[in-house]
């Protein structure tokens, strides 16, 4: 780390990566290597002191927390689910969606005295949401399409990311309640923030000014 004077930024592969590369281009960085990357995972921005690393969302947090990457772009959904020790400096505004509690259309979720079962890919977010309500729930972790769980009768509801709500609608489900908003965030390792303040602040203000 001490040898590395460049800023290393980890991007969440996929849509956030594409949007961030677009943002870099708007700032005026040469992004040809980022666009034409093949299978490479560590990429350079020619003429700038910036190295780009491509990783899965949760890994972006891990790399930043350990300081092997100085910064990262990651969704608030992943931050809420994984937590960690880093600075969350800015909201890039793209990748916007929300966590919501949903279930079968017309069903009154809060009815009755039984303990509810919730299926989700985000057990920590779900637990915190219901803890704040003082409500005991059974949480079942599902890896794939969570919408199936209430349809098959496994759960009373789901907590999941909702963008347009189309998938819910097509499966006869609806949003009962919003849990929290989601968008892409810039996170920074706390030691890097202090040791490379100028470079990091410059890059962040460039990003903010070009949103």
């Amino acid at each position: 780390m001490s040898e590395r004077k460049t800023i290393r930024i980890a991007l969440t592969k996929g849509r956030l990566e594409k949007d961030t590369v677009g943002l870099f281009e708007k700032i005026g960085y040469d992004v040809t290597l980022l666009r034409d990357k093949g299978r490479k995972l560590i990429l350079e921005i020619p003429g700038a002191d910036i190295e780009v690393v491509l990783a899965k969302a949760a890994d972006v947090i891990t790399y930043v927390e350990h300081g092997v990457c100085d910064m990262g772009v990651v969704g608030k959904d992943t931050i809420d689910e994984h937590g960690g020790r880093f600075f969350e400096i800015c909201d890039l505004g793209f990748g916007r969606c929300r966590f919501a509690l949903a279930g079968k259309k017309g069903h009154n979720f809060y009815e009755g005295i039984g303990v509810k079962t919730i299926a989700t890919k985000y057990p920590n977010v779900t637990r915190r949401f219901f803890e704040a309500k003082g409500m005991d729930v059974d949480i079942v972790k599902i890896e794939g399409s969570v919408e199936l769980a209430p349809l098959l009768g496994l759960s009373d509801g789901i907590v999941d990311i909702v963008e347009t709500g189309t998938t819910l609608k097509e499966n006869g489900l609806e949003v009962f309640e919003d849990v929290s908003p989601i968008s892409a965030r810039v996170i920074v390792n706390p030691v890097s923030m202090k040791l490379k303040k100028e470079k990091i602040e410059t890059l962040i203000s460039q990003m903010e000014n070009n949103l």
Binding site: M1, S2, T62, E65, H66, G67, V68, G83, G84, R85, F86, F87, E88, I89, C90, D91, V188, N189, P190, V191, S192, M193, K194, L195, K197
Partner: protein, 405 residues
């Protein structure tokens, strides 16, 4: 039943050979710094009652403590921290000792971290506590020792960062937001300005105090932070605290390379516990602070004694060891000079011969192999340059590069 007898629990590890030597060296280095500055060591038990760590002014989150139950059914923890046990001692056995007390410790703490995050659950911490001293002088003494510890790390990138959480506490009181403390604290700690803005707007907090609270997390860097903060806090009681911090900063800059001293007014960790300055030490090779400390004037009072001014810090020896090893710190050559093999019937002579060699200043090992052949191959494998065979006619065999000369 599945057995776990071949591995160590997650977050713990065995240290071998060079790792031990470097670890002990780092520990000893700090021990020397502390004792030469007049600090006395205390060792506290690894097992403590849960209550020591579970009161308002000293709350540790339950889930990060390893717990046990004693024979009377009382809840115990494996110490997650050394300062609280020391505060317990200060409030009890050291109640009538001459103040100020200058104490140091070097012992393991245990925390149940989230799994698979690559964090240590068992950490050796060395640190100091100054109890009952005058504020300005004690703060300065603690900071200058922290700087010494940082400078002892062979790293080109070193920062000692100072802050003070009274700014944050004062603003929270002014805004009557003490109920929302935990959320606001974590937003400031993570420098999450956009989210904090949203939160303050939501609870209807506005005006100059809200603006000050919002700007707090951005107030970090070098000397320029003070002039920014002066403008921001003008006309409030916070200027007194700012002056205290500025004075410390100025004196530190006289003592240390100015580039190595930074300020962050957004340091708000452990807000229920720290009551004044907070500081941290960073080195470029490690992604989290390696030194963490601050002032905690109400902690000792929470153990039933009078409140006493106190300041201290802890250094993470695990991190310092890892960095030293990564930087190629080699343990001093620990090779054995001579291997002594005694033939049957000459065992006592062998032991005596070995002792003579050791007394003459060499490192000698009494060979516990069953015959000379084994002794030779052992010497070759361990790169021992000389083998002495003790018998009727004691002979010396030199190995160079593992070859029989």
């Amino acid at each position: 039943m599945k057995s776990f007898d071949l591995i160590t629990p997650e977050g713990t590890r065995d240290l071998l050979f060079d790792e031990c030597i470097v670890r002990r060296k780092e520990e000893q280095k700090l021990r020397d710094i502390f004792t030469s500055h007049g600090y006395s060591e205390v060792i506290t038990p690894a097992l403590e009652f849960y209550d020591v760590f579970n009161m308002k002014a000293r709350s540790f989150r339950q889930e990060i403590m390893y717990k046990l139950i004693d024979s009377k059914g009382r809840l115990m923890v494996i110490r997650p921290d050394s300062t609280m046990p020391i505060a317990r001692i200060v409030a009890t056995r050291l109640k009538n000792e001459e103040r100020p007390l200058k104490l140091f410790y070097s012992q393991n703490i245990y925390r149940a971290n989230p799994k698979m995050a690559g964090r240590d659950d068992e950490i050796t911490q060395s640190g100091i506590e100054i109890i009952g001293g005058e504020e300005k002088r004690s703060d300065l003494e603690a900071l200058s020792l922290a700087a010494k510890v940082l400078n002892s790390c062979a790293s080109s990138e070193v920062r000692l960062e100072i802050g003070d959480n009274s700014f944050y506490k004062h603003l929270l009181n002014k805004l009557s937001l003490t109920d929302d403390e935990e959320i606001i604290r974590s937003l400031i700690e993570s420098k999450n300005r956009p989210e904090l803005k949203r939160y303050l707007d939501n609870v209807g907090a506005d005006g100059e105090y809200a603006r000050m609270l919002l700007d707090l997390s951005g107030l970090f860097g070098g000397e320029e932070v003070f002039s920014k903060a002066e403008k921001l806090f003008a006309g409030t009681p916070l200027t007194d605290r700012l002056n205290h911090l500025k004075k410390l900063y100025d004196v530190l800059c006289e003592l240390e390379d100015k580039d190595r001293i930074t300020v962050d007014l957004g340091l708000v960790n452990k807000a229920e516990y720290y009551t004044g300055i907070i500081f941290r030490g960073y080195i470029g090779e490690y992604g989290q602070p390696i030194i963490s400390g601050g002032r905690y004037d109400t902690l000792i009072g929470s153990f039933g004694a009078e409140n006493q001014p106190a300041v201290g810090f802890a250094a993470n020896i695990n991190a310092m060891t890892n960095v030293a090893l990564k930087n190629g710190e080699k343990a001093k050559n620990n090779n054995i000079d001579v291997l002594v093999f005694a033939r049957d019937g000459y065992l006592s002579q062998g032991i005596k011969h070995c002792k003579q060699l050791i007394d003459s200043g060499l490192k000698a090992e009494f060979c516990t192999c069953e015959n000379e052949e084994k002794a030779k191959s052992y010497a070759t494998a361990k790169n021992i340059k000389k083998l002495v065979i003790v018998a009727e006619n004691t002979e010396e065999i030199d190995f160079i590069g593992g070859q029989n000369k």
